[in-house]
């Protein structure tokens, strides 16, 4: 899922961002709650302050009215001095800042029997000067019949000497909504009159509106308009009337003095109510009892209360989301620009270089990639150089390998005029240039030496050593051969001399005296060869093993001596055969080799013996790569047998060695010129036919057998090419004039003319054409 650097970095970024956002959300949540709590406290505190102020005002007004009542009694008891009372009242009033006015009102005829209405009323002229107004004594006003007077008189008792009137509009005087507090003037438990203090309700709220506990927080009124949707209710719950209401959903002016039942949201338990639902909005009611029956309730809409904090938190979240989008975007863009683009560029260039294009890598920015690109470039150049060098080395190696192989005798038969034996050897080098070799040559005119050897190690050093050893053995042998015992000692010493790199070589040397059939075998640490006697089959030669060559100087070697008989076959090999390994890691082994040799059908044909074993090895190892050189040598002793075999690839360039071989045989047999010529012509024709037509695709082999029997010369050609019987060919008409003659077809016609008998047979996947000539 996160396989690329890009996705990993982005995933980590998202994870960290998520963590960060989570932290912020938690912080924001806690912050919101804490702030709300703080705000609630603040609200509560502000409202308490506000209520206390109102309460103070109310209580002061009550105190004032009591003071005035005392003044009334003093007036009654001290000779009814108008001047004095006015003086006292004026002094008192100067402290009554909050009141609109106040007065002392006597019951009818109490002071003066002739005067029904006697009162002292003064009002605040807004400059804080109290002006006495006599007009309230008039018949017109008739204060005894005013509601406020009657209300207060009815409510007060001597014990509970303060009472509040319902709010009312005073048309005379201040002409504003008033509420009046009054106290009774008692003398000997008799009510003489009342004192009153008027309070402007609006002014209460106005004074509250001056108070701003928070910058944008709590201010109920501003220019007589409620803000933030809060509203207040000021009422007397004892007497169940509304003093002031600022409910935005009601006609507040009509409610003044009316029962609290007109307030839909009001209930008696309002003090303990947390929320009220009103017009689909939640309000928090702050209710306070003033203690004199009055209650002040301020309802603040919950949403409005926290609108700022909610707004703040939303903005914070918006910014968070913005950051949450911006950071990965910027990261993604910068990742692409600074890391991924250079990487992709490098990948593209690497691909192009892989496809063989010759490009210089150039990245200027960022610096790390510039450096990387430079290193990359240097590396590429370096690799190119190495590859070039290696190609050179490889091509030189393959040349060396082919030179090495070409030094081994590879034309068979190697001694066409020697009929006493047949010899065939081949090597399959492993991938690396190797150290196996074989060789055969005449030590003198009657002693044939053949050998098979394996140089320790592989590669060029082993190959060079092998060349040295091969040359050395042949030169030393041909310099003058006397006895094998002496020869092998000299060879070993020479190899030791030339061996500074501590190589050694295992070697099987055989020397055959073709005159007395003597075979000497010297085994220098090599695999034991097998020998086949006609009646016994193949058996490992029981010979003692000597030390490998090149290990110790001045060593004596044991030599095995035996007599060869006609038809004996000697099979020598290197450990590449017995140590060939198959898929199950089993080795081919000596037993398997002996079994295979004994099961070969065409056992007298040494080419066939060699190829059969090679074939068996291929079948055995199957797909397992060849790890060591595989070299085999087959020697057959004919003694005086006449059959000669020539085997070669079906190639035109091998014709020369073929006719040289053939001529040497026909010469050896002392055939007359005519017969030699006939055999020569026929052999050429058949040879040409096979190389031209038998193998249209891959080149195969031609095997030629010639033998002398009684009065016949028998010449046999075998090939594994496409089956073709030349005897079915129609003869050309040689009586035709040359213009009408076809160019081809002459050859077979001639062969038919010259040979005594022709036999064609197709068996064992081979074309076999036998020509018989009279001797």
């Amino acid at each position: 899922m996160f396989k690329t650097v890009k996705s990993k970095i982005l995933a980590i970024t998202f994870f960290l961002l998520a963590l960060l956002i989570f932290a912020f959300v938690c912080y924001g949540y806690v912050f919101k709650i804490k702030t709300k709590q703080l705000m609630l406290k603040n609200y509560s505190y502000s409202i308490n302050v506000f209520v206390r102020q109102i309460k103070e005002k109310i209580l002061r007004a009550e105190d004032n009215s009591k003071d005035l009542a005392l003044v009334g009694r003093i007036y009654f008891n001290t000779g009814k001095n108008d001047k004095l009372i006015k003086f006292i009242m004026q002094n008192l009033f100067s402290n009554y800042e909050q009141s609109l006015g106040g007065g002392i009102w006597f019951e009818p005829y109490i002071i003066d029997k002739s005067k029904k209405r006697l009162c002292f009323y003064a009002y605040n002229n807004k400059n804080n000067q109290f002006i006495f107004d006599n007009s309230y004594e008039s018949q017109n006003y008739d204060y005894h019949n005013r509601n406020w007077y009657k209300e207060i008189v009815s409510k007060i008792t001597e014990n509970n000497n303060t009472a509040w009137s319902s709010p009312y509009y005073e048309k005379q005087g201040s002409n504003s909504l008033l509420i009046t507090v009054g106290s009774g003037i008692y003398e000997n438990h008799k009510l003489l009159g009342i004192s009153t203090v008027d309070i402007d309700i609006d002014s209460i709220f106005q004074s509250v509106s001056m108070m701003k506990p928070l910058e944008t927080g709590f201010a109920l009124f501003e220019n007589k308009k409620q803000i933030n949707g809060s509203f207040a209710l000021f009422a007397n719950i004892d007497d169940d009337y509304i003093i002031v209401s600022t409910d935005p959903y009601l006609h507040n002016s009509l409610l003044v003095g009316k029962s609290l039942k007109n307030i839909p949201w009001y209930n008696k338990n309002i003090i303990n109510t947390t929320y009220i639902n009103y017009h689909n909005k939640k309000y928090v009611p702050y209710a306070k009892n003033l203690g004199n029956g009055m209650i002040l309730i301020i309802c603040v809409p919950k949403d409005e209360m926290f609108i700022d904090i909610d707004k703040f938190v939303s903005i914070m979240f918006f910014i968070l989301i913005l950051v949450g989008i911006l950071i990965p975007t910027i990261l993604y863009i910068s990742l692409n620009k600074n890391i991924l683009n250079p990487i992709n560029k490098l990948i593209n260039i690497a691909n192009k270089i892989r496809n063989g294009e010759d490009i210089k890598i150039k990245i200027n920015k960022p610096e790390e990639f510039a450096k990387l690109a430079m290193t990359y470039d240097e590396m590429t150049n370096h690799i190119k150089k190495i590859i070039k060098d290696r190609e050179k080395i490889n091509s030189e190696l393959s040349i060396a390998k082919s030179i090495q192989l070409s030094t081994l005798p590879n034309t068979f038969p190697p001694f066409p005029d020697k009929t006493e034996f047949d010899i065939y050897a081949s090597t399959e080098p492993a991938k690396e240039i190797g150290g196996d070799f074989y060789d055969f040559f005449f030590a003198d005119d009657k002693n044939l030496m053949f050998l098979i050897a394996d140089v320790s190690g592989k590669g060029i050093p082993a190959a060079l050593f092998m060349m040295t050893v091969k040359t050395l053995v042949k030169n030393l042998t041909q310099r003058g051969y006397h006895s094998s015992k002496e020869l092998i000692k000299i060879i070993n010493n020479q190899i030791c001399d030339n061996n500074k790199n501590v190589f050694f070589v295992t070697m099987l040397i055989c020397i055959v005296n073709i005159e007395n059939d003597n075979l000497s075998v010297i085994n220098c640490g090599h695999n034991k060869p097998l020998i086949r006697k006609e009646k016994e089959g193949y058996k490992y030669l029981n010979l003692s093993s000597n030390i490998a060559l090149g290990v110790l100087e001045n060593v004596d070697f044991d030599i095995y001596e035996t007599k060869l008989e006609q038809g004996d076959i000697l099979f020598a090999y290197t450990d590449g055969i017995t140590e060939a390994v198959n898929e199950k890691e089993e080795m081919f082994g000596e037993q398997r080799l002996a079994d295979c040799l004994n099961n070969i059908k065409d056992e007298n044909n040494i080419y066939n013996v060699n190829n059969s074993i090679k074939q068996k090895i291929v079948e055995f190892t199957k797909n397992t790569p060849q790890s060591d050189d595989i070299t085999t040598l087959v020697f057959k002793y004919n003694k005086n047998s006449s059959e000669r075999i020539f085997k070669t690839s079906a190639l035109i360039e091998n014709y020369k060695s073929f006719y040289t071989w053939l001529q040497s045989i026909t010469k050896h047999w002392n055939l007359n010129n005519e017969l030699k010529n006939k055999i020569d012509m026929c052999a050429e024709e058949i040879f040409a036919n096979i190389i031209f037509y038998a193998y249209p695709q891959e080149t195969g082999f031609i095997e030629i057998f010639i033998s002398k029997k009684d009065n016949e010369i028998i010449l046999r050609f075998e090939d594994t090419g496409i089956p073709y019987n030349p005897l079915n060919h129609t003869d050309p008409d040689i009586t035709l004039p040359p213009e009408e003659r076809k160019i081809g077809g002459l050859g077979i016609f001639m062969v038919k003319q010259m040979a005594k008998k022709l036999i064609y047979e197709n068996s064992e996947g081979k074309n076999k054409l036998t020509l018989i000539f009279d001797y």
Binding site: K656, E674, A688, P738, G744, L746, Q753
Partner: protein
């Protein structure tokens, strides 16, 4: 086999050969002679093959001789073979070349 091609006069080509005329050499011999005919400035009307040193001729050699004969005939020329050894004569006779060749 060895052979040499010489021009005698403007229209005659003289070819001497020695050795085996077989798979190994016949084709080369044939193409060389044909190339010499093409390369000559004038049209060759007389081709003389000196067989005095030829020791052996195979069917392929006979084929080449037939090809050269046909080639000359097309150019309204003649092919003469000189100094033919007995052994080669036998071969020629065997395939009926004596019916049209002069040697």
């Amino acid at each position: 086999m060895d052979f040499s091609i010489k021009q005698r006069g403007e229209f005659t080509l003289y070819v001497t050969a020695s050795g085996r005329m077989d798979l190994d050499s016949a084709v080369k011999y044939g193409t060389s002679v044909k190339d010499a005919i093409y390369d000559a400035d004038e049209t060759i009307t007389e081709l003389i093959l000196d067989f005095s040193g030829v020791t052996f001729i195979s069917s392929l050699g006979l084929k080449v001789v037939l090809e050269l004969y046909k080639h000359m005939k097309e150019q309204n020329g003649t092919l003469t073979i000189e100094n033919v050894p007995e052994q080669i004569k036998t071969s020629f006779k065997m395939v009926g070349f004596d019916k049209f060749l002069t040697f």
